[in-house]
């Protein structure tokens, strides 16, 4: 594939994305949790369940179960680390900046650093929803909603 692999494809399936999709570190339901929500992409059938445990108002732990493509699983796994220690408001703000990152490929801030592998998604508009699904589920869980949809 390498001789035919275009640059944007290499960016989309950047090393971290492939690694996280094959061996996600946070892909399990939490035994103890304070919030849970399910995100669905009705047009393609992707689904992610996100569980959140909080301590003193901040996210202490995130676990997820996903059925979906490499992008959606890797994005959920990266989210489960990037959102740690944030309160609901900060997590919501970060979710919006992640959405902007995957739509445009650009974004400032050290808190986006570990999420930059997702930037390559911006060249594939039909895949943006894959990258944002877990974040939508997270914000839904923090808002006390149980289900969310990308539509």
């Amino acid at each position: 594939m390498n001789e035919t692999l275009s640059d944007d494809l290499a960016d989309l399936y950047e090393r971290t994305i492939l690694e996280r999709s094959r061996r996600p570190r946070h892909a399990s339901r939490l035994a103890c949790f304070d919030a849970h929500a399910r995100g669905d992409n009705p047009m393609c059938g992707d689904r992610v369940d996100v569980w959140v445990r909080r301590e003193a108002g901040r996210i202490a732990e995130i676990g997820f179960e996903a059925r979906g493509c490499a992008i959606s699983i890797a994005a959920a796994d990266l989210m489960a680390e990037a959102a740690i220690d944030l309160d609901a408001e900060a997590a919501g703000a970060l979710a919006e900046r992640v959405a902007a990152l995957v739509r445009t490929g650009a974004g400032q801030g050290a808190d986006l650093d570990r999420l930059r592998p997702l930037a390559g998604v911006h060249a594939f508009p039909s895949r943006v929803r894959c990258a944002t699904l877990a974040w939508r589920a997270l914000t839904a869980a923090l808002d006390g909603r149980v289900e969310t949809s990308s539509e």
């Binding site: 035919t4 393609c44 059938g45 992707d46 992008i71 895949r127």
Partner: protein, 411 residues
């Protein structure tokens, strides 16, 4: 044309301007015709020609242009009746697509003729368009919805269908004629005979079937038949419902408005004769003209040639994909059309589709508007390659090479 020779195929492909396009710098390999087919120049020119030379509203104006447009629009009804071998042109109702045709039946036959306590039977391999209208009917009118199972091979389980019909409460069997996921052809004449034996009417969703093989509603002994224009190389925005005259006459209207009435007062209105009773408002005039050109195109190529060409392609695709490790083809029906769904051990369907797309190959990935079937098959999505009269053996080989690259990339 009885067979499609390589020379024929080159000529047919030249009829479709879009096939000369490149995608990501590579020749377009379009293997998503089951979602919507590309359009031959004859269709494009018929539609442009209508707008440039003979366009006005239909059934209204007493002027030359309206008469010409009405003739063109109504002649599509004859073309559609001829395509289906319908005995009566008045049995052809134009809709927006198959979805609207099925909704029309669910509304007018389901609410106007079926009675609470009766049942509708669908199959386990329906498109959402032949599931949801019946759920709406069930919830509103207390009409039971039954689902005839499929076998592990992806064929309709006729014995189970018969047991669902046995209590005599089924008013309608509404079933696909060819699965958009598995490619399975349903033995329509046998299904119709079974339905009739137990007093049920039968509707076939022909969205896929009519693209690949000739359909004769009289030979099938069907009661309703639905298809859509855009999968049959015609434009979007036009579909056809055929139904037996006595059924259409017994059914109340679907949408109300202009063109579907005999007379209107504030106290009451009376309905136009069929088919106009079911065609409220200004119809898709230009789209109908395009559909007529599409029907003429398909019939000129010939269903015999199309079916033989696509059968050879499908056989080649199944044999080729079977030789690639980690590729699982869904369904192994004996009688199948040019649709092949598959999954890969190493990659999700969306990732397959993205990698293929970057090689210029268009396939569909997802649940194909058939979520219950996905659950029955134990998958959440598949990649699907679908073939048309313009598909080549080289394109199947390009797909296979593309799939091998997906495998190298993800494993």
């Amino acid at each position: 044309m009885n067979v499609v020779t390589p020379q024929d195929l080159a000529r047919l492909r030249a009829d479709f301007p879009i096939l000369a396009e490149t995608v990501h710098g590579r020749p377009l390999v379009f293997l998503d015709s089951a979602a919507s087919a590309q359009k031959p120049r004859a269709v494009i020119e018929a539609m442009v020609g209508a707008m440039e030379r003979s366009y006005a509203n239909v059934h209204r104006g007493l002027h030359w242009m309206s008469e010409r447009a009405t003739e063109a629009y109504e002649s599509t009804r004859d073309a559609a009746a001829g395509l289906l071998n319908a005995p009566d042109r008045h049995e052809i109702v134009f809709t927006r697509n198959s979805t609207e045709a099925i909704n029309l039946v669910a509304h007018s036959y389901g609410r106007g003729v079926l009675r609470p306590g009766q049942a509708v039977v669908i199959s386990a391999m329906e498109h959402h368009s032949n599931i949801v209208p019946w759920q709406l009917l069930r919830d509103e009118r207390g009409i039971e919805l039954r689902v005839a199972p499929i076998t592990d091979a992806g064929e309709l389980d006729l014995a189970s269908l018969e047991s669902l019909l046995a209590d005599g409460r089924v008013g309608l069997v509404s079933i696909t004629h060819m699965s958009n996921v598995l490619g399975t052809y349903v033995p329509a004449a046998r299904v119709a005979a079974l339905a009739h034996r137990y007093g049920a009417k039968v509707l076939f969703d022909g969205s896929q079937a009519i693209v690949h093989r000739a359909v004769d509603v009289q030979a099938l002994d069907a009661d309703f038949y639905a298809f859509t224009g855009h999968k049959l190389y015609g434009p979007t925005g036009i579909g056809v419902l055929w139904a037996r005259r006595e059924l259409l006459e017994a059914m109340p209207p679907f949408l109300g408005g202009g063109d579907m009435i005999a007379s209107v007062t504030y106290e009451r209105s009376t309905w136009a004769e069929i088919p106009h009773k079911f065609e409220a408002g200004t119809p898709p005039i230009i789209e109908a003209i395009g559909l007529k050109a599409a029907i003429a195109y398909v019939r000129a190529v010939g269903y015999g040639a199309i079916a033989a060409h696509e059968a050879a392609l499908t056989e080649h695709a199944l044999a080729t994909l079977a030789g690639i490790e980690g590729v699982n083809v869904l369904g192994r029906a004996q009688d199948r059309g040019g649709v092949v769904s598959f999954t890969m051990d190493c990659a999700h369907a969306h990732d397959i589709a993205t990698l293929l797309d970057r090689q210029g190959i268009a396939v569909r990935a997802g649940h194909h508007c058939a979520e219950p079937l996905m659950r029955r098959l134990g998958v959440d999505s598949t990649a699907r390659a679908s073939f048309a009269l313009y598909t080549t053996r080289d394109e199947i080989d390009a797909l296979a090479a593309g799939i091998r690259r997906v495998r190298e990339f993800f494993s």
